[in-house]
């Protein structure tokens, strides 16, 4: 079976280069090797993650993980000998996060608390959705479950068609609510930390971290400690840290909750800028309806505990959104509608 690839090369060549890469795995794992672009393309095609996944490529050298190579090699063998195509995501509309009939119960001192009841959410690639609802409705719980930080009992939660059982830091980045930065590390050490525990080399880490800090507007403060930074700046560092492994999906749990209104809005716009630049899938949880309507394409409204999905509202205001958006009629109407929905659920409980 011959497959034609984008740059017109043929398969045998790829086969050989992969063999080379596999045999030379030691050098791949510990050093940076020059990897031809077609091999990268090839790997992307065959891995389940989809064509746009970045392998932490930078311009000069490429560092490949052995597991990825092995998987793709095996896939290659399979496809050659069975003649079947590997699962290709191009046919379905690329559903990234799929939650089906999820229910979750906490056991506490006072008995069992049902946090979520039968919620189903589908998020498409590159979408920006927000979960809102009254306090205690389980939106943070849902986010933790989607990210693999909490084990769920009933239902199905899938990320890129793979069931979620534990955190997948290369696919999912988290930004938490209060300061989650490590106080004994400065900004750049905080940002590079996820790469450090995954074993990246020092230069690579520092380089990438500096890049992200520059992108977040903190290029002048890499060696400041969290206690030396304002709340807004701390959350910028937290966002940079969430982005460093270049995950496809970002989960943000009320990241701006502890900030003042001005900083909150400003950081919201920054987030939108990052979202449109990097084309990530964003799932945002917030209490603030203004924020929800301002930032996202869809707002999913949860009821009071036990959290059920009341409605899924599409925000059809176009991007880029600005301060003007906040004073428009459509904005106010959508926000009030959501507020009403929430008020109704609070009353009925």
């Amino acid at each position: 079976m011959k497959r034609e690839l984008a740059n017109g090369g043929d398969e045998r060549k790829y086969h050989k280069s992969l063999v080379f890469v596999c045999i030379g795995r030691k050098s791949v794992k510990s050093k940076n090797v020059n990897c031809p672009e077609y091999v990268m393309h090839f790997l992307r095609e065959f891995l389940l993650l989809g064509p746009e996944t970045d392998f932490q490529v930078d311009n000069k050298t490429t560092c490949l993980k052995f597991k990825a190579i092995l998987v793709s090699y095996l896939n290659l063998l399979l496809s050659i000998f069975s003649g079947a195509l590997m699962k290709n995501n191009e046919n379905n509309p690329r559903i990234v996060v799929s939650v089906k009939n999820l229910s979750h119960v906490f056991s506490s001192r006072t008995g069992e608390i049902k946090a979520l009841e039968n919620i189903s959410i589908e998020v498409q690639k590159g979408e920006f959705i927000t979960l809102v609802g009254p306090s205690g409705c389980g939106k943070s719980t849902a986010l933790l479950i989607i990210g693999g930080l909490l084990e769920y009992q009933e239902g199905e939660v899938c990320l890129y068609d793979m069931p979620v059982r534990k955190p997948n830091p290369e696919l999912v980045g988290f930004v938490f609510q209060e300061t989650s930065l490590f106080p004994w590390k400065n900004a750049i050490d905080n940002v590079e930390f996820p790469l450090r525990i995954r074993g990246s080399s020092k230069e690579q880490r520092k380089c990438k971290a500096k890049e992200l800090l520059d992108m977040m507007g903190l290029g002048d403060f890499p060696d400041k400690y969290p206690y030396e930074l304002s709340g807004g700046m701390q959350q910028r560092v937290a966002i940079a840290r969430g982005l460093i492994q270049n995950p496809q999906v970002m989960l943000l749990d009320e990241p701006f909750a502890s900030l003042d209104e001005q900083t909150r809005t400003r950081l919201g716009f920054e987030l939108l800028r990052i979202w449109s630049q990097m084309k990530k899938t964003m799932i945002f949880v917030t209490h603030s309806l203004t924020e929800a309507v301002l930032l996202s394409q869809r707002v999913i409204v949860l009821s009071a505990r036990p959290g059920r999905i009341i409605d899924d509202i599409a925000i059809d205001i176009e991007y880029p959104r600005t301060y003007e958006t906040m004073i428009s009629e459509r904005f106010a109407m959508l926000r009030d509608r959501i507020r009403q929905l929430i008020a109704e659920t609070e009353v009925s409980v």
Binding site: P167, V172, Y225
Partner: protein, 253 residues
């Protein structure tokens, strides 16, 4: 620093110095003028004289003691820290062992010495194991307490980055529990020193503790007080060093 503050500090300093000088004067005068028998309280100058006359011998004993102290402190810290981190991060172990350790901590360690000296003999080894054992309990218990005091949010953050249990303990739990650990380390060092000196007092032929005991038996009070002063000096010096280190490491609080 404002002038008022500087004034206050130098004022406090002066008071401290004044108190010490007065105490030294009392120490000197009381025995010399027969208020207290010189055997009970040797005059300060005679203590100094004793040191001057026998300084070489005393230095030799001091050397032995210091070596034992360093080893004992290292044993106390390493064992206390390792077990502390392991137990602190593991719920079942914690519930099982912490009551046990707390009770053991309360037992006066000198009771164990007879047993230990039978097992380990009377050489240097016994002293530093004794000191190490004595010092490891506060390190252990404070490490566990330090680990307990961590905000679990940080653990969640670590998990979200895909850190393994081992990485989480070393890179995150350890720095975060450092305040508790350091106070344990300071206490552990002090106790290790005491353990070593007491061990020397009970059964030894070398060291500062031995000097205390030997001089006691011949009623050479000057010698006794000298050795005691030296012991206090050692503990104070070590504690001071650790205090400075503590200030440097926990700057982020």
């Amino acid at each position: 620093m404002g002038k008022k503050q500087a004034d206050k500090i130098s004022h406090a300093r002066n008071t401290q110095i004044a108190i010490v000088v007065i105490l030294l004067l009392i120490w000197e005068i009381l025995p010399r003028y027969g208020v207290v028998h010189p055997i009970i309280l040797a005059p300060f100058t005679s203590v100094i004289m004793e040191g001057y006359l026998h300084y070489f011998n005393i230095l030799r004993h001091l050397g032995t003691t210091l070596i034992e102290i360093v080893v004992a402190i290292l044993i106390a810290w390493v064992i206390g820290l390792t077990i502390g981190l392991l137990v602190g991060t593991n719920k079942t172990l914690r519930e099982l062992l912490v009551p046990l350790f707390s009770s053991l901590y309360a037992v006066p360690i000198v009771i164990i010495y007879p047993v230990l000296s039978v097992w380990l003999g009377l050489g240097l080894q016994a002293k530093y194991i004794f000191g190490g054992l004595y010092g490891c309990f506060p390190v252990l218990l404070n490490t566990i307490a330090g680990v307990q005091s961590i905000d679990t949010q940080y653990i969640t953050v670590a998990k979200s980055m895909g850190a393994s249990k081992f990485q989480t303990i070393i890179q995150i739990i350890f720095p975060l529990s450092l305040p508790g650990i350091i106070s344990g380390i300071r206490l552990g060092a002090a106790l290790a020193v005491i353990g070593v000196i007491v061990g020397e007092m009970l059964a030894s032929s070398e060291g500062i503790g031995f000097l205390i005991e030997a001089n006691r038996t011949i009623f050479n009070s000057a010698g006794v007080y000298l050795a005691i002063l030296i012991s206090i000096g050692i503990v104070a010096a070590i504690d001071r060093i650790l205090f400075i280190i503590e200030k440097k490491t926990v700057y982020w609080r």
